[in-house]
């Protein structure tokens, strides 16, 4: 196993030198191995989303380095990093273009990393391939390929967004609570799809979730964050034996403060 993503001494402070100064990260480090599927849990404000945002480059960091495939990407613009990073957001509208059809959306995603030139957006050979791909979602979308994505439900859109962000085989997939805005059943379905796609394509994945059950049952490594620190890091065999009870106990011994948000407890 080789290291794919390295985060070294990351520091980030919001509203620096003001009354509202908030130190989110101080010398935070994390190593992600190739093929890892890491679930990240933690209370609100722990820095989970900020971490993903800094990896993808949508928030600049104050100090530290991010290395992807041993290449320092910390100074690169977001659009350059996204060539290697796929991402699905919590908001289902973020991952697709609503006034364009499923075909058009998929075509754009499939050409990621290639040249967007003046050749036809959808070629004949793409069509059957795209229909097959969408068929794998088994959501009945293959019959609405010319429907505008804005007319689809949140779950369908999120499934499509997931498909689009993985179609070009990114090095890293970042999932930022991508099922939080969906109803429980759809959420379950999207998680199944996520597992299937990630396993098939062997994409290294970081998934933020508030669902402890999901966090335990999925992936090979679990990280619990609190106030910008990793307070729990469980891998492999140890993770397989993990239960929600154990996780909660674990948390209490590490951290005495009452930091669990209601949302986490009720999940």
């Amino acid at each position: 196993m080789s290291v794919l993503l390295q985060i070294q001494n990351l520091s980030k402070t919001f509203h620096k030198d003001t009354v509202n100064e908030k130190i989110v990260f101080e010398k935070f480090s994390l190593q992600v191995e190739k093929g890892d599927f890491i679930t990240i849990i933690g209370s609100n404000g722990a820095g989970k989303s900020t971490l993903l945002n800094m990896i993808s480059g949508s928030i600049p960091m104050d100090m530290g380095n991010i290395l992807l495939r041993e290449k320092d990407i910390s100074k690169e613009a977001e659009y350059k990093r996204t060539k290697m990073i796929g991402r699905v957001f919590q908001d289902p509208t973020m991952g697709t273009s609503p006034s364009m059809t499923i075909f058009e959306n998929l075509s754009m995603a499939a050409h990621k990393g290639k040249k967007f030139n003046l050749t036809m957006g959808i070629s004949k050979k793409d069509i059957s391939q795209f229909i097959d791909l969408v068929g794998q979602l088994s959501l009945g979308l293959e019959e609405q390929m010319n429907t505008k994505v804005g007319l689809l439900s949140g779950g369908q859109r999120q499934a499509l967004a997931l498909l689009m962000s993985t179609i070009s085989n990114p090095d890293v997939l970042l999932l930022d609570e991508h099922t939080a805005a969906l109803d429980p059943r759809t959420s379950e379905r999207i998680i199944e799809l996520t597992q299937k796609i990630v396993e098939e394509k062997k994409i290294t994945t970081l998934m933020v979730t508030h669902n402890l059950h999901q966090a335990i049952s999925i992936g090979n490594r679990l990280i619990m964050m609190h106030k910008g620190n990793i307070i729990l890091d469980i891998k492999g065999q140890q993770k397989n034996e993990l239960t929600i009870e154990k996780l909660l106990n674990c948390f209490e011994t590490v951290q005495k403060d009452d930091v669990f948000s209601d949302r986490l407890l009720f999940s």
């Binding site: 949508s58 659009y79 996204t82 273009s97 006034s99 364009m100």
Partner: protein, 301 residues
């Protein structure tokens, strides 16, 4: 008959400008005011070129290039210097006023004695139709290409374009260049058609473009499989028609801009569904009707 042909000619001629405004306003979601400057820029470049004896077709080409440069400046101001989209457009529009005067050297340049594309003896309507259709079809094809998709997505969901590894600033600048290029081309044709170039001919071009787009959408949106570019062209003709009727009603020409502004404001205030409902309210008097599904009642009676 002449009345209608005139409407068609002007509708199609300004329709090219409307297609340009459509790119920024509808596709990029960028309210670009610089077109108020790039339309007369096209006319000014054409006037200067024709007087120098340059071939009219080449003059159109030069105008188009000038317009694209103006669009690039707007894009640069917005993307690189991070000035808001409205203000970057206004800055370029104001700047172009002086540039246009410099190019023309006076406020009004008559072109009656110059050779234009309309002096080859064919009826102007055919020449204009050729240009308008050619550009419309080209734009339709462009919007189906990979880059065209990106342009659409840029206005629709900028985050997606970034996620695709594309610099959103780049697509915006290219879109603005295309748009202003078309507007300048339309200005060039307008100058040759009217037989003069005037420094004031750009005033209200943005609003005219918007009015046409809204007009076209309002009338044709229910028609299935209609392309938005068709709607824009038809809207432009409808707009010119309504202006012609306003003139027939003996409104002075100076009132036309006010009429345009009122029409656009009204259309935007009463968007699609609301129009039907508010018109109904005027004619239908009575209490509220809480039951909307009356099918079962009809079955009984």
């Amino acid at each position: 008959m002449d009345f209608w042909i005139n409407i068609l000619e002007q509708g199609l001629l300004f329709g090219i400008m409307v297609l340009g405004v459509y790119i920024t306003y509808k596709i990029l979601d960028f309210p670009d005011l610089s077109v108020d400057g790039s339309f007369p820029l096209g006319a000014a470049v054409t006037a200067a070129a024709l007087i120098k004896g340059i071939h009219p077709i080449f003059a159109i080409f030069l105008s188009c290039i000038a317009g694209m440069m103006a669009g690039a400046v707007t894009g640069y101001l917005h993307v690189k210097i991070k000035i808001t989209n409205l203000l970057s457009g206004i800055l370029v529009m104001i700047g172009l006023y002086s540039i246009n005067l410099r190019i023309m050297q006076k406020a009004n340049v008559p072109l009656f004695n110059q050779k234009t594309i309309f002096s080859i003896g064919i009826q102007p309507i055919w020449i204009i139709l050729l240009f308008a259709l050619f550009i419309k079809i080209l734009l339709d094809i462009f919007l189906k290409t990979k880059f065209g998709f990106l342009l659409k997505a840029t206005g629709d969901n900028p985050q997606l374009v970034t996620s695709l590894g594309i610099d959103i600033g780049f697509t915006k600048i290219v879109g603005l260049m295309l748009s202003n290029g078309l507007v300048a081309l339309s200005g060039s044709l307008a100058a040759q058609y009217q037989g003069f170039s005037d420094i004031g001919m750009g005033t209200g071009i943005v609003v005219m473009g918007l009015a046409s787009i809204i007009f076209g959408e309002a009338v044709l949106r229910k028609v299935s499989f209609i392309l938005p570019t068709t709607m824009a062209l038809v809207g432009s003709m409808l707009y010119k028609m309504s202006m012609a009727f306003a003139l027939k009603l003996r409104f002075p020409t100076t009132d036309l801009k006010l009429i345009t502004a009122v029409i656009v404001a009204l259309a935007l205030a009463l968007n699609e569904k609301k129009i039907g409902a508010s018109i109904k309210k005027i004619f239908i008097v009575g209490g509220e009707c809480p039951v909307t599904n009356t099918k079962s009642i009809k079955n009984i009676s």
